[in-house]
């Protein structure tokens, strides 16, 4: 029985190569992060010659402080990923709920309230909120550090997606099938969940993917302007050091690469997930192979026959 479920899960997870590739890439990134917290080729603070290009001893070279870039990268990856995923999940959830409700109710009172909330949230600069909330919570508890960042970014980050989803729901809510179920007296939550939610699920997944990237991006921006505690260790602080030392002026491409390699892997992984999730989100997108192989058709006409080849009859896929 349980093996049945396992098979099912495995089948779903590895339904197509894009999904598989996406999961593998994200897992590799996570592995780098987790391993980096336990083991790095050199201790993150160890000193070597400064600004050495990649070599066998230092696969990603050393930075201007003489630290091994690969070790630093591995050590800094996990917090970055945690912030990214945390922000992605929260944003997907909040923006979908609010987008759905405000789109469905259009101009009615509750819709207006949510509209005002959305607009307000949209206008609060996330980076500043990060500083304020961060400063308040850090005194309360050091260990909450990254949770605070996720919270601040989620609060300020959902509005963009909610607006996108709302605009889509506005278009859907006036469609014939929704109007028909309204007239038939369908409950509002059934309309929301069974008729309006499925078509906007792709946008929800997009919100997660973008939210994750937004989380990482904001973290880097915040670190770049030095608005977070200097004691944190993540890829953002690494990039801030790169910018502060203008590593691009002295051609230290390996240092920059070290700081963004985990981000690139994650981005690639999320891109694959985006490709692979298409057909789960919208079953109409599944590429259906005909069960019976197509045969050539021979049509007799006055003189001879016209042959319609099987490959010409292939189901059109877009």
């Amino acid at each position: 029985m349980s093996s049945d479920i396992l098979t099912k899960v495995r089948k779903t997870l590895f339904a197509n190569r894009f999904l598989t590739a996406g999961i593998v890439l994200v897992l590799i990134d996570l592995a780098i992060g987790i391993v980096g917290r336990v083991w790095t080729p050199y201790p993150p603070g160890a000193d070597f010659g400064i600004s050495q290009p990649p070599s066998l001893a230092h696969l990603l070279g050393t930075d201007e402080f003489g630290h091994d870039v690969l070790s630093e990268m591995m050590y800094d990856t996990l917090p970055t990923l945690i912030v990214g995923f945390g922000v992605g999940l929260s944003i997907a959830l909040i923006s979908t709920v609010i987008g759905l409700v405000s789109g469905y109710y259009g101009r009615k009172v509750s819709g207006v309230v949510i509209d005002v909330l959305t607009t307000t949230a949209l206008t609060i600069p996330g980076v500043v909120l990060l500083v304020v909330i961060g400063a308040y919570f850090r005194t309360a508890s050091e260990s909450l550090g990254y949770l605070v960042i996720v919270f601040a970014l989620a609060i300020t980050g959902w509005a963009f997606g909610a607006k996108q989803i709302r605009s889509q729901v506005l278009g859907l809510a006036n469609r014939e099938y929704v109007l028909a179920s309204k007239m038939l007296g369908e409950k509002w939550y059934r309309i929301l969940f069974t008729q309006l939610l499925p078509p906007i699920l792709p946008l929800t997944v997009a919100q997660f993917l973008f939210g994750t990237l937004y989380g990482i991006l904001s973290l880097v921006t915040a670190e770049y302007w030095g608005v977070l505690a200097a004691t944190t260790n993540n890829l953002g602080t690494m990039i801030a050091f790169i910018a502060a030392n203008a590593a691009y002026l002295s051609n230290q491409w390996w240092w920059i690469l070290g700081a963004i390699l985990p981000i690139i892997i994650l981005g690639g992984g999320l891109g694959c997930l985006n490709l692979g999730l298409d057909e789960f989100i919208d079953p109409r997108l599944k590429v259906v192979e005909p069960e019976v192989p197509l045969k050539d058709i021979e049509l007799p006409i006055d003189q001879g026959t016209v042959v319609v080849k099987a490959e010409q009859r292939k189901v059109k896929t877009r």
């Binding site: 607009t119 278009g171 880097v220 770049y224 608005v227």
Partner: protein
Amino acid sequence: MVSFFLAVTVNFLLPRLMPGSAISTLLVELEGAQGGFAASGTSSLFIQQEVKQLEVAFGLTPQPWPVQYVHYIEGIFTGNLGVSILFYPTSVAHVIFSSIGWSLGLVFVSSIIAFFLGSWLGAVGATRRRGKADTTLVIAASILAAVPAFVILMYLEMGLSVNVGIFRISFPTNVGMTPKGVYNLVDFYTLPVLGLMLSLLSGFVLGMRNNMLHTLKDNYVFYAEALGFRDKTVRKMVYRNSMLPNVTGFALSLGLAISAALTVEGLLSIPGAGYFFGLALTSKDLPLLQGFFFVIILMLLISIAVVEMVYTAIDPRVRLGGSQ
């Protein structure tokens, strides 16, 4: 209007909740610059007095918040946003309006290219789903979405400015409407525009692609195909109907111009609004910060209003209350 006041109020409160006073930050900097100034025993008391005096001068602490708030709202409507601490005695309004043009120009050019290129690429991806072009496009776009614009810019500058020397790397001193001045600007701005464009592009590509994929399977598309419309015509219809989220994205990216320019301008020290916003943020220049918040809110609210208008023009179904 309600959200305007709400946002303005939140932004009034935010910087006041920020830890540390701007003037003490400034004094610490001065102290460092003068070296050993703080070493003598009496100086800390002296500094505290100094801070108090300056804070009175800038009207920061002595009044209770409600009084400050009234002043703040008054200032918004009279255009008097106060005096910057960092650039004393320049007024906040002057700092913002002399710099915002650079940011608006940078973001406008970048996002208009990103909007058209991205929508087109997204449509191409959607019509060739899972093809080689589509796969490359989606993965490249996702990577670009994660890498900050200023890191992309670092590599662009490294390759094209530092090593090949095609484009200048620092903001030109001679700019203006003369041919030489315009050439200088183009020479300098090509890479920042390209870098910002690349990082904005991904949103448009993925938004368009994902949305169009699902629209392509709508019944009206099959109907149109069955009626014998040419592929091109059908694709145009779908394209138009899938554009809405991208229009939002475009308007919002303009509204967020200052935030978008923040790091790019910071990296290259472009004297634009993003650069000064960053400075205000790190030095806790309260009046300047508040001025920037106000301008950001104003720009966003305008762009949101424009989006609502454009929606009704593109998609009549969105017209609110139209069904009643």
